[in-house]
């Protein structure tokens, strides 16, 4: 859904709102919605192209579709594979993200997720997922010391005219930590000229451009990871992307211990000690998604410092309910839930939720 449906807020899925065109479909295990404000004559074609982009990313980059090109490449990660351009670009972007985050973003966590029995968890319907599996393999026990995790990930992408070939570097990968962000980025590019403004919501991964139906900036609520309709923060964004990483939906039990899908490649265990959710607003939707996960893995003790060092606009909710925002997020924040209001943003100055 695009907005809280309490009757006093926008419900942009309603096509009765003048000068707004929407398209909603299901892809990448999420509800995907496009919104175009004051659509131009080419808006419908742009919406069509944008949807095609999302579906193409899903078709080529999903690890849940047995027929996807990524699954085919994962089956033989030591070999070169001819793949569609979309997957080749996605792998190249994932390699860049791996470098930029100093390895905190690592698509090779697929190995861990599979060993923890998450193969069926990711494409689940929206809503909290707590599932017990019988696998006891976890953490460091699951991999050998010689695992490829010890070395930086170096996927190789080769282009010959319109033909792309990739080499995964010897390990199967999961592009779930960047795939949706890339799909949003590429789809947003298609909608750029579709109207006075546009917005994409791909299950929480967002992109904005131009003006909102109000004529001003887009207002974005940050979900309370502990539940409830009221957001913990409301941001105002004119352009760019926004993504949230949270352990609210994807967690399950392995050997009587709860695990989640945000795996720290340094420890090979569920990461983000002390954190329930992290939101990043960045001009690039894919970077928003990557850094929301990487900052989550930084953990509650250092996230504020790290976000400020990187100049990232970030907000986080701790397990104890405190909400913090980075210095770069402050100008975007137009409302805080009263119980989360504190003196100001930053580490150690967060208010109790």
């Amino acid at each position: 859904m695009l907005a809280l449906d309490d009757g006093d807020r926008w419900d942009l899925a309603q096509t009765t709102i003048p000068d707004v065109r929407t398209r909603t479909f299901r892809a990448m295990a999420s509800q995907v919605t496009f919104v175009v404000v004051d659509p131009s004559p080419g808006a419908d074609a742009a919406l069509e192209r944008a949807e095609s982009v999302v579906r193409e990313v899903e078709r080529t980059c999903s690890r849940f579709d047995a027929a996807s090109d990524l699954v085919r490449a994962n089956a033989a990660p030591h070999q070169w594979h001819e793949v569609p351009a979309r997957l080749a670009h996605a792998l190249a972007e994932a390699g860049r993200a791996h470098e930029e985050t100093a390895g905190l973003f690592d698509p090779r966590v697929l190995e861990m997720l599979l060993s923890w029995g998450s193969a069926e968890s990711m494409p689940a319907a929206e809503g909290p997922l707590v599932r017990a599996v019988g696998l006891a393999t976890r953490g460091r026990e699951a991999g050998s010391p010689t695992s490829a995790f010890c070395e930086p990930w170096r996927p190789r992408v080769a282009r010959d005219g319109s033909t792309y070939r990739v080499h995964l570097g010897g390990t199967g990968v999961d592009l779930g930590g960047i795939g949706k962000g890339l799909a949003v980025r590429w789809a947003a590019a298609e909608l750029g000229a579709a109207g006075r403004g546009s917005m994409i919501d791909a299950g929480g991964d967002l992109a904005f451009s131009g003006s909102s139906p109000d004529g001003g900036a887009w207002r974005v609520g940050i979900e309370d990871p502990f539940g409830g309709d009221e957001p913990v923060l409301v941001l105002e964004v004119n352009h760019g992307g926004c993504a949230t990483s949270s352990i609210r939906r994807h967690r399950w039990t392995v050997a009587d211990e709860q695990v989640h899908h945000l795996v720290d490649p340094r420890t090979r265990l569920p990461g983000g000690r002390g954190l329930a959710a992290v939101t990043v607003a960045d001009p690039d939707p894919a970077r928003s998604e990557v850094w929301s996960k990487a900052l989550f893995l930084t953990g509650g003790a250092a996230i504020g410092t790290r976000a400020d060092e990187l100049g990232l606009a970030a907000a986080w909710v701790r397990l104890d309910g405190r909400v913090g925002v980075s210095a770069a997020m402050e100008p975007l924040t137009i409302w805080r839930r009263p119980s989360t209001q504190g003196p100001t943003a930053g580490e150690g100055q967060e208010a109790q939720s």
Partner: protein, 152 residues
């Protein structure tokens, strides 16, 4: 004794009896002299005073003195027993006092803990009420166009 059937024998017996008389009469005198000698020797034995006699070691007190001694011993025992009873009574009193003091301290501590818990509960309730009041009086969140949530 004279045998009347034998007259010659009667004459010699009379002579024998005449000799026995003076001999028998001398016996007491000899015995007296001998006894006197023993008495004199006993009085003049130089070791007699140095060595206590066995009779001295087993001298029994006279009946009156023994009873007094027994009474004295028993009195001493009674005095000792009373002293021990007094000491034990004092110890019990100390222990009882300590137990009472501990109970009082525990009760005070429990009371303080209860008071602290009640105070904390009151503070929490006040904070919650304050938060609820703040929330109630705070401006409602602005209309949002979209919500960002866990993207998976």
């Amino acid at each position: 004794m004279t045998d009347p059937s034998r007259p010659g024998v009667a004459a010699s017996g009379r002579r024998r009896a005449a000799r026995r008389g003076p001999a028998i009469a001398l016996i007491p005198a000899v015995a007296a002299v001998f006894g006197g000698s023993l008495a004199w020797a006993g009085q003049h034995d130089p070791l007699a005073a140095a060595e206590p006699s066995a009779v001295d070691e087993q001298v029994q007190p006279e009946p009156g003195a023994a009873a007094e001694q027994a009474v004295a011993d028993l009195t001493a025992r009674v005095r000792d027993a009373r002293a021990r009873v007094a000491a034990l009574t004092a110890t019990v009193a100390e222990q009882r006092e300590a137990a009472h003091a501990k109970q009082a301290a525990d009760a005070a501590q429990a009371s303080a803990a209860q008071a602290a818990a009640a105070q904390a509960a009151a503070a929490k309730a006040a904070a919650q009420a304050s938060a609820a009041q703040r929330r109630a009086s705070a401006p409602a969140p602005p209309r949002v166009h979209v919500v960002t949530r866990a993207s998976g």
